[in-house]
Symmetry: C2
Subunit: 106 residues, 2 copies
DNA sequence: ATCATATGTAAGTATTTTATTACACATATA
DNA sequence: TATATGTGTAATAAAATACTTACATATGAT
C-alpha cells in the first residue's frame, strides 16, 4: 500500500501514472519482471524512450531495477513493479494540498 | 465511487489530477462550491488559466458547474466537486491497459 | 573479424501543456 | 458616466514532456 507523506509525493506518483506508455509498461511488468531491451520490443518503442519512462516510474517509486546475467552470458537490466496500490479521494487531496508546492521545474 | 469503463477514461482522470494547480482547486472545492472569479482570487491565479484547469477537471468528470445569480444580481458560474474516490492498483491498470490507446492529441 | 544482442546517454526536435495578455460584453453601484 | 464586479475567449508566449537519431561500450556466437 502506497502511503503519501506529502502533496509533492502524491503529485509525483500521479504524474508518473498520467501517460499511456507508462501505464502499458506497468501492465506488462504486472505479468512479471523483464529487462529493458525485451520490454522495448514488447511495447514497440525505442529503448531511449523507454528509459525516459522507466526513469519517471522509478523516481515515483513505482518500479525498481536490478542487473542480472542472462543465460547467454550478457548483462541485462531487469525492472519489476513495486507495490502499486492506493486509494484517492477528496479528503486525501484536501489534506495533502497543504504540503503541495506550485513550482517551476527547470 | 469512480468506475473506469476503459483505459482511456482512467488516463483522462489521471491526467486531470497530475497538476498541482488542479489539486489545489480540488482542495478548495472540497470545502464547498464556489464561483470562478472567487476561486481565481483564492488561488491567486488568473481567470483564463483557471478556466483551462477547470475545463480539464470537467472533461474528466471530476467537477461540474451551474450558473447562479449572486446576491448582487450578477450571474456567476459555480463549480462543485463530483464524487472523487477510487482505488488504483496494478491489477486494474493491467486490465484497463487493453482498452488504452496510444495516440497523438492534435 | 563480423554479426547479433545487451546497456547507456547526449543532443536535437516535436508536441503538449501551462500561463499571460488583451479583448468583448453584461450588471450593479457611486 | 465611471468604477467594480461578473462571464467568456482568442492569440500568443513560455515551459515541460515526449520522442528520435546517433553514438559509445561490452559480451557471445558464427
Amino acid at each position: 500500500m502506497i502511503y503519501f507523506n506529502n502533496g509533492d509525493e502524491l503529485l509525483l506518483v500521479l504524474e508518473a501514472l498520467s501517460n499511456p506508455q507508462r501505464l502499458k509498461i506497468i501492465a506488462v511488468l504486472s505479468e512479471g519482471r523483464q529487462y529493458v531491451s525485451h520490454l522495448a520490443r514488447e511495447l514497440g518503442i525505442s529503448r531511449p524512450l523507454l528509459y525516459l519512462h522507466l526513469q519517471k516510474l522509478e523516481e515515483a517509486n513505482l518500479v525498481s531495477s536490478d542487473m542480472e546475467i542472462l543465460e547467454t552470458g550478457q548483462a541485462a537490466k531487469f525492472y519489476q513493479l513495486n507495490d502499486i496500490h492506493f486509494v484517492l479521494n477528496e479528503q486525501l487531496i484536501h489534506d495533502l494540498s497543504k504540503s503541495l508546492s506550485i513550482k517551476r521545474k527547470k
